[in-house]
């Protein structure tokens, strides 16, 4: 094929060389798939602007801007896909999903705003939810701040305590002797069970909620870090000892890093427990945060604002979990296959 003097192909070129050539029809089909999300978005926009609303339902341009924004993003990618192989592959893989999302929006809009099949006040249409977020943005941002503060305080205390008990119990038989019964008893109890007691006993509701979240995080982190430390490859330990490692070095430079994959399992589980505990704490006691906001708006039958808060919660937790995943990838980059996944 090519002579030895030619440079090696890039990864993309190689992929191209090794894949089967596509027929004209197959290529056309690919382009159509790529264009589908834009068509679906246009369909939804047409429905939104041109179809008469049910009864006296009113709308704003917020939703138009919202849908157009994403449609334009995809359109940009579509144009780029003619010039960049990478953009094409990305769009080709994602466009069926995007299409369905736009169609779902259209269907929901149809069922609420346009026909009233799903009745108010329980089912506000997308534009109303969007406006609820925009109108209440100051309060919502404040709630996000309060929620994150509570979440991270509890999470950090819980994770630190879990690491301490887990690593020391994994390391020392006598510590394990005392920690194990505690874990056996406290482990199966969901941490939110303690809420009624905390509401009575805790000096401040905020402090009590921090404790509640920390307790929920403590358990999985303790279990996994204990497991991780106990499952260390014996050869690693023995070699470290022959290289002159002190006990402190064995714990902090051998046991803990080697247990990190386990510890991150616990940290991930702990995050989902913490999010649950946060919502329960805010809905039941603490008078701030997103959980409180939902409950408060329910009192006023403001359903659009409740949905708005749920969407904000979803986005917030997604971002928090993405951050945790990024940290995990960075810390565990030494793992086989860890870099790519």
């Amino acid at each position: 094929m090519t002579s030895g003097a030619n440079p090696l192909p890039t990864l993309w070129e190689l992929k191209e060389m090794e894949s089967k050539p596509k027929t004209r029809m197959a290529r056309l089909f690919d382009r159509i798939i790529c264009a589908l999300p834009i068509l679906a978005a246009a369909l939804e926009l047409l429905q939104y602007k041109l179809r008469p609303n049910f009864r006296n339902f009113t709308t704003t341009d917020a939703y138009t801007v919202f849908v157009s924004f994403f449609a334009v993003l995809i359109l940009g990618l579509f144009v780029a896909s003619f010039f960049s192989k990478r953009a094409f592959e990305k769009l080709r893989a994602q466009s069926p999903l995007y299409t369905v999302v736009f169609l779902l929006f259209a269907a929901y809009d149809h069922a609420t705003l346009k026909t009233g099949l799903l009745p108010l006040p329980y089912f506000p249409w997308p534009d109303r939810i969007l406006n609820a977020i925009i109108d209440d943005r100051v309060l919502l941002l404040d709630c996000i701040g309060n929620s994150l503060q509570l979440l991270f305080l509890g999470y950090i205390f819980g994770a630190a305590a879990g690491l301490l008990t887990g690593v020391s119990a994994g390391w020392s038989r006598s510590i394990r002797y005392w920690v194990m019964p505690l874990i056996r008893i406290l482990g199966p109890i969901p941490s939110t069970t303690w809420l009624p007691i905390i509401l009575i006993v805790a000096a401040s509701l905020f402090g009590g909620s921090v404790f509640l979240i920390a307790l929920g995080v403590w358990y999985p982190v303790t279990m996994t870090s204990m497991n991780g430390v106990q499952n260390i490859r014996k050869a690693n330990f023995e070699v470290a000892r022959t290289l002159g490692a002190s006990n402190a070095r064995l714990v902090f430079r051998v046991a803990v890093p080697s247990a990190m994959p386990y510890i991150f399992q616990g940290l991930t589980q702990g995050m989902s427990v913490a999010c649950t505990a946060l919502m329960v704490a805010e809905m039941m006691g603490v008078e701030s945060g997103l959980g409180w906001y939902i409950n408060w708006q329910r009192g006023w039958a403001e359903f659009a604002k409740m949905y708005a808060a749920i969407i904000v919660i979803c986005l917030t937790f997604t971002v928090v979990n993405m951050a945790l995943t990024l940290i995990r990838k960075r810390v565990l980059r030494w793992q086989e296959g860890g870099a790519g996944v």
Binding site: L243, G244, S258
Partner: protein, 260 residues
């Protein structure tokens, strides 16, 4: 070099077999005297207790009876004077090649003034390109090279090699055997090698101890006076191989299970 004198006097090791509710005699009255700077090998079939003996010298196991001395001092626990290389999977997977090699220097508080040594060791085994790679990105041969220089970084008086090349293909093994001879001739530390590869033992050592299992005993000691580097097809080489194989019952047709 005068340090690195290993004396083993009438060592006995009995293992508890909790699952079978019994005990097992693994080493029976084993005695050795290894001079400083000597390269010796322990050969024998698996289960003859050679690894256990090495672990006792390393300080990872204690003998049930008998004395193990290093430079006249009783061996009590591990010591950076006695380095150890395992067969495989002993590199710290969370550390890069460079950090693995630096581990011992950091642990013994020498890293601040011996940083260049790490780079020197990396280039000594030709892994400059892989200095910042993690162990799983290396081949088995590269991993063992790293394990070897990691142990050498803190200049142990005695290097204990527990089948360090056992998991490698035969070509890689021969290349690293040459490197081992070179390393040893440069440093002249005591080398104690455990292997079931008879050629490897003959290629490398000045003395070979042959062990038999159940209970583990040293049944023969051979002194090799050939000069380095050795030739594997040399007649003296072949003669010694025959002696060892015969001693291990592999060289005669009278053995029922194995015909070579």
């Amino acid at each position: 070099m005068s340090a690195g004198h290993i004396q083993i006097n009438n060592i006995k090791k009995i293992f508890a077999r909790a699952d079978l509710n019994s005990t097992l005699l693994v080493l029976d009255e084993v005695s050795l005297d290894i001079r400083p700077g000597e390269f010796v090998s322990l050969v024998g079939t698996s289960g003859c207790g050679k690894s256990t003996l090495l672990r006792i010298i390393a300080g990872l196991e204690t003998a049930t009876d008998g004395v193990a001395l290093c430079d006249g001092e009783p061996i009590n626990g591990t010591n950076p004077k006695r380095g150890l290389v395992f067969q495989e999977h002993s590199l710290f997977p969370w550390l890069t090649v460079r950090e693995n090699i630096a581990f011992g220097l950091r642990a013994t508080k020498q890293y601040s003034f011996k940083k260049e040594l790490v780079d020197a060791l990396i280039s000594m085994v030709g892994l400059e390109e892989f200095a910042d790679s993690f162990p799983h990105q290396l081949s088995g041969g590269m991993q063992q090279r790293v394990a070897l220089v990691r142990a050498l970084a803190i200049s142990p008086d005695v290097l204990l090699l527990d089948e360090p090349l056992g998991a490698l293909d035969s070509f890689t093994r021969m290349v690293i055997q040459e490197e081992l001879v070179r390393l040893w001739q440069e440093r002249h530390n005591t080398m104690i090698l455990i292997t079931h590869d008879v050629d490897e033992a003959i290629y490398l050592s000045q003395r070979i101890f042959i062990m038999t299992p159940r209970p583990g005993r040293i049944i023969r000691e051979l002194t090799l006076n050939m000069s380095y580097p050795r030739n594997r097809s040399d007649s003296a080489f072949v003669d010694i191989r025959n002696i060892i194989l015969k001693q291990l019952h592999f060289a005669t047709d009278t053995h029922e299970d194995y015909n070579l």
